[in-house]
């Protein structure tokens, strides 16, 4: 893999030069201290000093709601084939791993044409980051990305070390080669290694992911699930914000003035009561505890058994989002027998008193 250097004050010139025929997406401030990926006209709008966006990049490939096609009695017409070229800048390693998991999921048995077309038209430009108290990517092994990006920018002092991860990324560099510097010195490499060591030490949260498949098995009937379920508001947010949650629902929306229906797709969440409701009104996961078990089986067990890695990329969004403190860290902690400090555990103590 080739590595080049870019002065940080040349970044915006680079982004402007390569995005003349694409939408340019990246992290922009939302409210006082949150961020989201947004299309910008000017890369100066980006705020690269961010930890995580509220929603992960999946919203760019598959928006929360969209019409897939229009169905008529004997034909159908594609609606949303989003061929817009996009450059997604500022993606952190956890989210790159999230995209890799989505790539795998949406192409494993059936190809999802909506995802694939949008994904193929998107260039991923990664960016280095620094962990906060919710980041778990060190434990999930997703703190560094070795694939899944076209370029990856690591900020060191006033420069970027830029990893070229694909021929598309190489093409971008070639658009404005004069902005880059090819001479990587020993000092640059030393600086990078030191930075990586410092970053590794900066993680405040750790989980024993390796043990989780066994814990899930052993504790499938543990009281922890009831304890969690007392507090869960069944709001679905933990799924909506998770970069590896891929479930969706499909609805028919008949048109009033035509003999046709729009076939609409929206994100679904296994923590919602309606998720497991089937025709006839039966629901095979009526209780919140059953649904939380499903969510955490996906994150901590099933994916590990099937693909050898957890379906959690450690982004910390569930921790930053769940109003009652149910998240991969507190759940794994409780399964591991730790005393957990979260609303749900305090509430469980009160309920079971």
């Amino acid at each position: 893999m080739r590595i080049v250097k870019l002065k940080q004050d040349r970044l915006n010139s680079f982004l402007e030069a390569v995005s003349t025929d694409s939408e340019l997406w990246g992290p922009v401030k939302k409210g006082a201290d949150k961020h989201r990926f947004k299309i910008v006209d000017n890369p100066a709008e980006f705020d690269l000093d961010y930890t995580r966006t509220i929603l992960p990049p999946k919203k760019i490939f598959l928006p929360p709601r969209f019409n897939m096609f229009k169905a008529m009695p004997t034909a159908y017409e594609e609606e949303t084939m989003d061929p817009t070229k996009k450059i997604l800048f500022g993606v952190h390693p956890c989210d790159i791993h999230g995209i890799l998991i989505m790539d795998q999921f949406y192409t494993q048995t059936y190809n999802d044409p909506y995802y694939i077309r949008s994904r193929e038209n998107t260039i991923i430009l990664g960016h280095s980051c620094w962990p906060d108290e919710h980041c778990l990517c060190h434990s999930t092994g997703t703190d560094v990305a070795n694939e899944g990006y076209d370029l990856f920018f690591t900020a060191l002092n006033d420069e970027y070390l830029v990893w070229i991860g694909s021929s598309k990324g190489d093409d971008l560099v070639r658009i404005v080669p004069e902005l880059f510097n090819e001479d990587l010195s020993d000092r640059d490499i030393q600086n990078y290694i030191r930075w990586r060591e410092d970053r590794s030490k900066a993680f405040k949260a750790e989980i024993n992911f390796k043990a989780m498949p066994d814990f899930m098995e052993l504790k499938y009937r543990d009281a922890v699930w009831e304890n969690l379920s007392h507090a869960c508001l069944a709001c679905g947010s933990c799924s909506n914000v998770c970069p590896t949650c891929t479930c969706y629902n499909v609805n028919d929306k008949p048109r009033l003035s035509e003999n046709a229906s729009d076939i609409a797709r929206c994100w679904d969440a296994c923590t919602l009561e309606s998720y497991s409701e089937v025709a006839g009104g039966e629901n095979f996961r009526e209780s919140r505890s059953e649904r939380l078990k499903l969510y955490y089986t996906h994150k901590l067990q099933a994916f590990i058994s099937k693909y050898g890695k957890p379906a959690c990329v450690g982004c910390g969004r569930c921790a930053a989002t769940c109003p009652v403190g149910i998240n991969v860290k507190t759940v794994a902690g409780a399964l591991d027998g730790e005393e957990v400090d979260a609303f749900w555990s305090r509430y469980a103590t009160e309920v079971t008193k």
Partner: protein
């Protein structure tokens, strides 16, 4: 059916008429609605109203007088399908937030010893306390999108979908920073979705105007808000605002 078109009646009991107004406000779709359906009765929009047999009756507003009870029963007898249209009809509306005792006191405060001649007032109740309701479409007022989707499915002979998810779902779709996490009294997790999360989109906590979502975990949110420093009194008051009679008593017992 009339020329194959379903006969529809739109009726207003006690409410702000916002739901009926929303239909009139569907300007782009009005022609299609009147083409697809035979609108037999719609006091807000037309004068030649006929009160006969109906395929579908949309009933807005809650029941607050004895006269409305008999009107409602008459509608039920004439209609194959009755829809509780809007939050007042579905849950009782804001006017249903008082229990019997409070309602008696309020009535006394406002009307004193006045005699009721035209009809007798009763404590506000949702329409399903008096007649069987086939479908519910909550909202304050109902959303255009949900209404048109609902109506289209009805007109095409498909049962309408119900909306079992809370406001938080759309709020997250809209990528809002969670107000509840920021210490605000947001009722999004307890409230039926449909408004497009308009309040949180504008940084205002949800006050529950769509009415309660099915199986809302109100007790957990009450404890959560208590931990965030709100008084039980204040939380219950907010929760009761749009929860209607069915939940009012349950909330009192929380």
């Amino acid at each position: 059916m009339n020329n194959g078109k379903p006969k529809i009646g739109i009726y207003e009991l006690t409410g702000c008429a916002g739901d009926a107004l929303l239909i009139v406000d569907c300007e782009m779709e009005l022609l299609d609605i009147f083409t697809a359906a035979d609108i037999q009765s719609f006091a807000m929009a037309k004068s030649d109203n006929i009160d006969g047999e109906l395929d579908v009756a949309l009933v807005e507003g809650s029941v607050t007088t004895e006269k409305e009870i008999s009107e409602l029963k008459d509608i039920r007898e004439r209609a194959k399908i009755v829809v509780a249209f809007g939050n007042c009809a579905a849950h009782g509306g804001i006017q249903a937030r008082f229990d019997d005792k409070e309602w008696q006191e309020n009535l006394k405060k406002v009307y004193g010893n006045q005699k009721f001649t035209h009809t007798k007032p009763v404590r506000s109740k949702p329409i399903d306390e008096f007649v069987k309701v086939d479908f519910y479409l909550p909202g304050c007022p109902v959303s255009k999108e949900q209404f048109l989707h609902f109506l289209t499915r009805m007109l095409k002979g498909n049962p309408p979908e119900h909306y079992p998810t809370p406001v938080c779902v759309t709020c997250k779709y809209n990528e809002n920073d969670c107000l509840l996490n920021n210490g605000k009294l947001c009722l999004g997790p307890l409230t039926a979705d449909g408004c497009g999360s308009v309040c949180p989109n504008h940084n205002i906590p949800c006050f529950g105007c769509w009415g309660p979502v099915e199986n809302a975990n109100a007790i957990a949110e009450l404890h959560l808000l208590k931990e965030k420093g709100f008084s039980v009194e204040e939380i219950k008051k907010r929760m009761a605002n749009f929860a209607g009679t069915k939940l009012a008593d349950a909330i009192k017992q929380l």
